[in-house]
């Protein structure tokens, strides 16, 4: 399982320093990043993280009397590599705000009510076709403490372990048709329009299972191609 990792098109990745996001200029390197030729060390990586961390089920909307408040949604996400080959067995960590836009986190005490039935985090493993599914509620938008009119649109955070160290990814997924998407400083830090659009999930019209939740599909592409692609 040898992987090849090539440089990314910078326009498909976010700017490191963002106007109006005051932490970014304090935390991004000033010196130029050092180019190196990847070796085995960077082109290998942990494949058995699931044995080290506690998996949390993919149903975070809850059942029975423990159901979270909000619009029930079903996320179907496929993890692929740059060849389009599914990445099975990948650990995916996910977290999001509740329907009111509040996180279960000591630092989020701003405005919106917590939901005692919503913890808002999952940790799952992709199946052989690279897919994981989550039953959750649609996250709410929330104002950023900059207090200058920036609100985060509804979004879901993903942290993904690929097959090699350089494929490790932390990203955010957005929802289609949200008016706040157009002004979000994080989403719009990605210069390329097609790359930005690929961060927005696809709405699937009702009529498919599960019948009692709105379905969204999404695709996550990890860096890397197999050195020897699978034969057709």
């Amino acid at each position: 399982m040898k992987m090849i990792i090539q440089p990314r098109d910078e326009r498909t990745q976010p700017a490191r320093i963002i106007a109006g996001y005051p932490q970014t200029p304090l935390r991004s390197p000033k010196e130029p990043l050092v180019k190196r030729a990847p070796t085995l060390s960077e082109l290998s990586g942990p494949l058995e993280v699931a044995k080290r961390v506690k998996l949390l089920g993919g149903d975070i909307a809850g059942q029975g009397e423990k159901q979270a408040i909000g619009q029930l949604i079903h996320l179907r996400v496929r993890v692929l590599d740059e060849d389009g080959a599914p990445v099975g067995g990948a650990v995916v960590e996910m977290w999001q705000a509740n329907a009111a836009g509040r996180y279960i986190h000591p630092n989020d005490d701003d405005h919106a009510p917590p939901d005692p039935n919503f913890y808002g985090a999952a940790r799952v493993v992709t199946d052989e076709s690279g897919v994981f599914e989550l039953r959750t509620v649609k996250p709410g938008a929330y104002p950023v403490p900059t207090r200058d009119g920036w609100w985060r649109p509804p979004h879901v955070h993903f942290s993904v372990f690929g097959r090699v160290w350089l494929a490790r990814l932390v990203t955010q997924m957005y929802f289609p048709g949200e008016p706040l998407n157009a002004q979000d400083r994080i989403l719009n830090a990605v210069p390329d329009a097609a790359a930005r659009d690929s961060l927005v999930a696809r709405y699937i019209p009702p009529g498919v299972e599960p019948y009692n939740a709105l379905v969204f599909e999404h695709q996550i592409v990890l860096r890397g191609r197999a050195a020897t692609p699978a034969q057709p």
Binding site: M1, M3, D9, T12, P14, A15, R16, I18, Y21, T24, L26, R27, S28, P29, K30, E31, L33, V34, K35, R36, A37, P38, T39, L40, S41, E42, S44, G45, P46, L47, K51, R52, V53, K54, L56, D81, D83, W95, H105, N107, G120, H157, S159, V164, R168, L169, V170, T171, Q172, I186, A189, A194, A195, R196, S198, L199, Q219, I220, V221, R223
Partner: protein, 176 residues
């Protein structure tokens, strides 16, 4: 070819249980002790103005005591220590300090002993990657760094590895 998904900051609100108890101890895996010399690595993470950063995520990846990676890309992986995963995660405390217990990695063909680091934090739009070394030497990754900055990648004492995201003594990060 598909376009790799755009990165984004981990943000300030990843769940506290994102860092599992014991995830920063690589010397024990599934209840069994790894082979080799147990060591501790610690350091402080700071931003441009020198402020220590709390609740920042550090992940590491390394070879085992024999210099073997637990991954099929390593031709020797069948001989990897079954009791060593090689991956760990820690969060920084209120003073900006992280700490790992691990095994001193062996050398691999063409590489000096080293540990790969990854930093994720609110306001960091992309994961920052760097590499810690135990001593100066002819390692190709270390040699890729301008000579004047190489000492910043070499751990001090037993073993201190501070990470400065920006500013004075800024840690060299890699453009992969």
């Amino acid at each position: 070819m598909m376009i790799p998904t755009g990165e984004a900051t981990i943000g300030p609100f990843f769940p506290p249980r994102y860092v599992d108890a014991g995830a920063n101890d690589l010397t024990v895996f599934e209840g069994r002790k790894a082979k080799g010399e147990a060591i501790e690595i610690h350091g402080r993470v700071m931003q441009e103005d020198g402020t220590a950063l709390e609740n920042l995520i550090v992940e590491i990846w390394q070879a085992d005591a024999g210099g073997i990676f637990r991954h099929p890309a390593d031709p020797r992986h069948a001989q990897a220590d079954p009791n060593f995963l090689g991956w760990g995660r820690a969060a920084t405390d209120a003073q900006g300090n992280y700490r790992f217990k691990t095994i001193r990695p062996g050398a691999q063909e063409g590489r000096a002993p080293h540990i790969n680091f990854m930093v994720m934090f609110s306001g960091l739009m992309r994961i920052l990657k760097t590499t810690m070394f135990f001593e100066d030497g002819k390692d190709p990754v270390l040699m890729a760094v301008p000579a004047a900055r190489r000492s910043l990648l070499i751990a001090k004492g037993n073993y201190e590895f501070n990470i400065r995201l920006r500013g004075e003594n800024e840690t060299p990060f890699f453009d992969d």
